[in-house]
């Protein structure tokens, strides 16, 4: 126990110790936190759906919860069921074998719901494109509010995407 406490003290608070290049990140996360407080009573819940990615985007989504980005600290939580979710974070080109599962996940998410397509594949189908096995971009299968490009998009880009989705929903221009 002593060793754990010592290591925690030595590590310090990484979230505040973001290095210089991440000044923009700090500003964005502040705006995001304010939006979550205002629009979602302080708690935005996200259900991640991998619809066929190479698993690169999943690495960055997992990184969102490391102490540097500390997404949970902003009141944003990844939940286990679409029934608990405000927002779907969808990665990958949608494989035809995941098409039904993605549609059902979308239907199971309560209104009003937001969809953020994550990564080049989610935006355009990416390098996998459309084929006998791939439906291409997420927008081909369910309505998408915001698309975040990148291969994979950095945690910062994903945070911006989530913020944009919330702002769109606030402006009442979500495309549905």
């Amino acid at each position: 126990m002593y060793q754990i406490l010592k290591q925690i003290l030595k590590t310090g608070i990484k979230t505040e110790a973001v290095p210089q290049p991440d000044e923009a990140l700090r500003a964005t996360t502040r705006r995001l936190q304010a939006a979550v407080l205002e629009r979602f009573a302080g708690a935005l819940t996200i259900r991640h759906v991998d619809a066929g990615s190479c698993n690169g985007c999943e690495l960055e989504i997992n990184a969102l919860n490391n102490p540097y980005y500390n997404l949970e600290g902003l009141g944003i939580k990844f939940v286990a069921s679409p029934r608990h979710a405000d927002l779907l974070l969808v990665t990958g080109p949608v494989s035809r074998h995941m098409e039904t599962a993605l549609q059902r996940t979308y239907e199971a998410t309560p209104e009003p719901k937001l969809v953020v397509a994550t990564g080049d594949c989610g935006c355009t189908g990416g390098i996998f494109g459309e084929s006998y096995a791939s439906c291409g971009r997420v927008g081909n299968v369910i309505p998408v509010d915001v698309a975040v490009p990148g291969c994979p998009p950095t945690p910062y880009a994903i945070i911006q995407g989530i913020l944009t989705a919330i702002s769109i929903s606030k402006a009442g221009t979500a495309g549905r």
């Binding site: 991998d50 619809a51 190479c54 074998h97 039904t100 291969c151």
Partner: protein, 526 residues
């Protein structure tokens, strides 16, 4: 040339790994397989091809690891059937089922002939990897499932899972959409109380036509796709792909490029082990572990971004060499990072080792006994945690591993604790290797031109990624294009072992056991 014990001629393939190839008949397909198994060899990969464009027949190919190196055996298939080898190498079962789905060749006499990668995107009787099957087929119609031949849901539900009967037995279906940020797949647990009587996995949800996609690309474009077969192993795949292209073109990259590739591969190994060690702590209730390890991982990723322009090192390894050199500042930065990481990992290892709650969850959980691992062909770090001394960096060391004298890490317990220990020790070893690479890396060019590859040229790549051995077989086509490419993930071998590892454990331990292997869905589903 002849090899003792085989009654056919083998010819050598150029390349970084020793490789021999031969074309055999149906009887020799079996005898060669048995002979290789008898000599302690293992099955690396199994795939099909369609030679109709060049006037050849369908063929099935096997890659084996033998004491003398890689052995590639091709069997031309005329009547759509070839002899089953899954009784000799059980790892062949799912590979043979995938060949039946994709290339339309059946293993005659195989006990399990159910579909594997095919759900409902195409129908039985259609074979995506046949040359007469259009990649655009069926025409993509947004939102309609692309005129799939049958109701997609019906296609999924019709899969004949093995049923477990008896009083008090019930099933838990899990997935394809899981509760965490992980890839999709379906697990069918048959349980009594909380104990797992049987687990059957149904994969293939992520099948996105990668092999067919390769055939629309030239050898240069293919490098990008190879790096995205399984994103967490992008360096291993990109290197294996580059190795295959260089083998087909019979060129050798400059030495500095090879040393830099090894540096990248070891960085990838460290980053992935960090991530998984964090999640393993978290899954056993020690959130401290996740926080600590995910910080260390983030530090590695940020230095990757600074030095190589990509957090996960995608597209840094290219055919002919690497895309970026490492300057003197970079060398110093990596060296300084090694010192920091070594200290942090030593501290965290003693925390993990001495934490009674953690060890209680890890020890004896998800055990794969060495005998079972050997029989079923477990590979990679999971194999090494079950006593199997298989590591390409030691067995068939390519440049620069021959000079680095890699210390292979093995354990015999085969439980989650052993896989955790192997990961800790492999991190320490990778840090040592990185220091040696920085010290001894030769100067000079970091990339060479790759000449155009002759149509029909073959190439292989074989790299010990963090998860296990990544294999790529390449056949070049006209105009420097790809005629056929098979990328093989170590997860093919290891997924079936997961089903054995959970037997007798309780359902809540499944996430822990699963994470201790952390297998790739994308690399397997293709």
């Amino acid at each position: 040339m002849r090899i003792e014990g085989h009654d056919f001629d083998l010819s050598a393939l150029p390349g970084a790994v020793p490789a021999l190839r031969a074309t055999v008949d149906a009887a020799q397909w079996r005898t060669a397989c048995c002979r290789i198994a008898g000599d302690g060899g293992r099955l690396v990969a199994l795939w099909g091809s369609d030679g109709s464009e060049t006037g050849n027949s369908l063929a099935v190919h096997a890659a084996y690891a033998t004491p003398s190196g890689l052995m590639l055996i091709t069997l031309p298939v005329s009547a759509g059937r070839y002899p089953d080898i899954s009784d000799v190498f059980p790892a062949a079962i799912r590979m043979q089922r995938a060949i039946a789905d994709l290339s339309g060749m059946a293993a005659a006499g195989a006990a399990d002939d159910r579909q594997w990668l095919r759900h409902a995107a195409w129908s039985a009787g259609e074979y995506p990897l046949r040359k007469n099957f259009s990649a655009r087929h069926p025409p993509a119609v947004p939102g309609t499932g692309g005129a799939a031949p049958q109701n997609a849901a019906a296609g999924m539900d019709a899969y004949p899972f093995v049923q477990v009967g008896g009083d008090g037995v019930h099933e838990i279906p899990v997935g394809p959409v899981h509760a965490g940020t992980i890839e999709p797949g379906h697990f069918r647990f048959s349980i009594i109380g909380e104990r797992v009587l049987r687990l059957e996995a149904r994969l293939g949800y992520k099948h996105k036509g990668i092999e067919k996609r390769f055939e629309q690309m030239d050898l240069i474009q293919g490098a990008r796709l190879a790096g995205r077969v399984s994103g967490d192993s992008t360096v291993a795949y990109a290197w294996a792909y580059a190795m295959a292209v260089e083998s087909a073109a019979a060129v050798t990259p400059p030495p500095r490029a090879l040393w830099l590739r090894a540096l990248l591969l070891e960085r990838e190994r460290i980053a992935n082990h960090f991530g998984d060690l964090g999640f393993l702590g978290n899954d056993a209730g020690l959130a401290f572990g996740l926080a600590q390890f995910s910080c260390l991982k983030e530090d590695v990723l940020r230095l990757n971004e600074t030095l190589f322009g990509h957090r996960y090192l995608m597209d840094v390894v290219v055919p002919g060499g690497v895309a970026r050199d490492l300057g003197a500042d970079g060398v110093n930065a990596v060296r300084a990072e090694c010192a920091v990481l070594e200290r942090a990992v030593a501290t965290l290892r003693s925390v993990y080792d001495e934490h009674p709650g953690l060890q209680d969850r890890f020890i004896a959980c998800g055990r794969v006994a060495p005998e079972l691992a050997a029989q079923l062909g477990l590979i990679g770090f999971a194999g090494r945690a079950s006593g199997l001394a298989w590591d390409l960096r030691v067995e068939y060391p390519c440049v620069p591993y021959g000079e680095l004298d890699v210390n292979m890490v093995t354990h015999r317990n085969g439980d989650v604790a052993a896989r955790v220990t192997v990961r800790f020790e492999e991190i320490a070893e990778s840090l040592r290797l990185i220091r040696m690479i920085l010290e001894r890396m030769p100067l000079g060019a970091y990339a060479a031109q790759v000449p155009a590859v002759a149509a029909g040229a073959l190439g292989t790549g074989w790299v010990e990624g963090w998860r296990g051995e990544v294999f790529i077989a390449l056949e070049a086509g006209q105009d420097n294009r790809i005629r056929r490419l098979h990328p093989h993930d170590p997860s093919w071998q290891n997924w079936p072992l997961l089903e054995h590892a959970v037997l007798g454990n309780i359902v809540p331990d499944f996430p822990l056991i699963n994470k201790s292997f952390n297998l790739s869905y994308s690399g397997h589903d293709l």
